[in-house]
């Protein structure tokens, strides 16, 4: 049996390489939306927060989890919406 950490390390390594390849291709024109879009993705902690907010086991963990859910949701919803607003403004000549 391969331990889970090995798999996670593999996934981390591949994702980092992939991230560099992808982001290096984004043109300067789109750097502000990229920044806010990446910021929205960093709200992925929401996924971690959800499982901790719903355990019902510990009072403190629950409270902390719920607060984390709210904060991460602001990050996610706000981030994607503001990025979309920006990108909607980018137009090609004549369209």
């Amino acid at each position: 049996m391969i331990p889970a950490e090995v798999f996670l390390t593999f996934i981390l390594m591949l994702s980092i390489f992939l991230g560099f390849e992808l982001i290096n291709k984004v043109p300067a024109t789109l750097h502000t939306p990229l920044m806010s879009g990446a910021n929205a993705i960093s709200g992925i902690t929401l996924v971690g927060a959800i499982s901790l907010a719903g355990t019902g086991a510990q009072d403190l963990a629950n409270w902390l989890g719920a607060a984390a859910v709210a904060l991460a949701t602001i990050n996610v919803v706000g981030g994607y919406m503001v990025t979309d607003r920006m990108l909607a403004m980018f137009k090609k000549k004549g369209s």
């Binding site: 996670l8 981390l12 000549k93």
Partner: protein, 450 residues
């Protein structure tokens, strides 16, 4: 069910990646952002299906509250306030990481898990307060200057030592919550201390770096709770932040260390002697020259954002085009206060993105330009970067407006730009200064045209 959840994460990760790929071109970028949002939705739904979850009311409350606040903020923010908005959101993300790390602490956790928990808390805390200070400086709620005081280094070293000691003790005695509280408190303080000595205009670099950190915090959390999607998404964000940071530093010809530790832009204007004299011009005279021009380049900078002049700039460009001139925009990568700041503002004013030329595309054409109109830009057009070896910005790539036949510079005074240095451009023979708020000056020019 477990399989469904896990494979949903695979799908979500693939969509995040595909979305980022689509963000690589303006034509598909909006779709890319949508795809990324769908990926997030899938990941969240998969997390909700988790069988460990027994209570949904707290989650529902958090999601609704967060969505309302985030949605409202995103809708109302002005395009010129984008940098501070990103800082604010990033801060919330950091605080969420801190709380997730804290909440993931269960009695009897393994050391490996404890390490990832403390990393999550630490990075999250620094990201939170650091972003808040960056927000304050950018929105000018707090002074935007670099705050430097004697003994600063010693204080910071003590904080770092405290964090290290607290973290080690926490891993050794996870049940003694004092260590946890110590690390939380110190990481919050450290976020503040790390950002106050950095000048307001360097905040974008800071935000980018903090954004990268928040990605790393998500990775750490992913290792703690054994979740692949956190690792993939976190690594993508981490890479994005690092690359944007690098791009900004390179375009400013400064090292990251210089940005973070030098207190650059803390207000001292250097005394270089510049020869030549300043030749102001009236809007009327400027109009006559513009009317005769057949090739015009517009170079916007931070002043255009301050004056909110993007719409009148677009109007002016249209009038010039109607008058038979070829009009191009030259965009420097660090013009303004975020990477790509000018692109967003001009896009807001409906300037098509194929009319926005990058520095390397406009520079070779500069010799054929009749009039270069510099609108609230200063450092990004400073020929000292090319000519004066002793200048602090020597070597920074700039837009060579001085190669154009005539240069108009629109600004309010002879004040220097962010870098706090003199600009020899203003004294060149072919330069004319059109003093005043950029929006008003352009408004006057437009009235002359009609």
């Amino acid at each position: 069910m477990e399989h469904v959840i896990q494979y949903s994460y695979v799908v979500a990760a693939a969509l995040f990646i595909y979305g980022l790929k689509q963000l690589g071109s303006p034509a598909t970028a909006r779709r890319g952002n949508m795809i990324s949002a769908v990926a997030m939705l899938i990941a969240v739904v998969a997390a909700l299906l988790d069988q460990g979850i027994v209570e949904y009311q707290w989650i529902a409350l958090g999601v609704v509250a967060g969505a309302v606040i985030g949605g409202a903020a995103a809708r109302m923010v002005q395009m010129t306030a984008m940098p501070e908005m990103v800082a604010l959101f990033n801060g919330f993300g950091g605080l969420a990481s801190l709380l997730v790390g804290w909440a993931a602490l269960v009695p009897g956790a393994e050391t490996f898990t404890l390490v990832t928990i403390i990393l999550s808390i630490l990075i999250g805390g620094v990201t939170f307060t650091g972003s808040m200070i960056a927000y304050g400086k950018l929105s000018e709620r707090i002074g935007s200057g670099a705050v430097l005081f004697s003994g600063q280094q010693i204080v910071n070293s003590l904080i770092v030592l405290g964090i290290l000691a607290g973290s080690v003790m926490f891993c050794l005695q996870p049940d003694n919550h004092l260590w946890l509280y110590l690390v939380v408190a110190l990481s919050l303080v450290f976020g503040i201390m790390a950002v106050i000595p950095i000048g307001g205009a360097d905040m974008p670099v800071v935000i980018s770096l903090l954004n990268s950190y928040s990605g790393l915090a998500a990775c750490a959390a992913g290792f703690a709770v054994n979740n692949n999607i956190l690792i993939v998404a976190g690594a993508l964000v981490g890479a994005s932040g690092i690359i944007l940071t690098q791009i900004m530093c390179k375009a400013m010809n400064r090292s990251l260390a210089n940005v973070l530790f030098s207190g650059f832009g803390s207000g001292k204007v250097e005394a270089t002697v510049v020869e030549g004299e300043i030749k102001p011009i009236s809007a009327e005279d400027a109009y006559y020259i513009l009317e005769a021009a057949s090739n015009v380049a517009i170079i916007p900078g931070y002043g255009m954002a301050v004056a909110q002049a993007q719409h009148v700039v677009k109007e002016l460009a249209e009038l010039l085009e109607k008058n038979g001139a070829e009009v191009n925009f030259g965009i420097h990568p660090v013009a303004g206060r975020m990477p790509g700041h000018m692109n967003v503002l001009l896009a807001e004013a409906d300037v098509p993105y194929d009319q926005l030329l990058e520095m390397d595309d406009i520079n070779p054409r500069m010799e054929n330009v009749d009039v270069a109109i510099v609108i609230g830009a200063n450092d990004v057009v400073n020929p000292a970067a090319r000519e004066i070896e002793s200048s602090p910005i020597y070597g920074m790539p700039v837009i060579n407006v001085d190669k154009a036949r005539t240069v108009f510079v629109l600004k309010r005074s002879m004040a220097s730009g962010f870098a706090g240095i003199e600009n020899p451009l203003f004294y060149k023979d072919n330069t004319r200064m059109l003093f005043g708020d950029a929006k008003e000056s352009i408004g006057t020019l437009i009235r002359e045209f009609s």
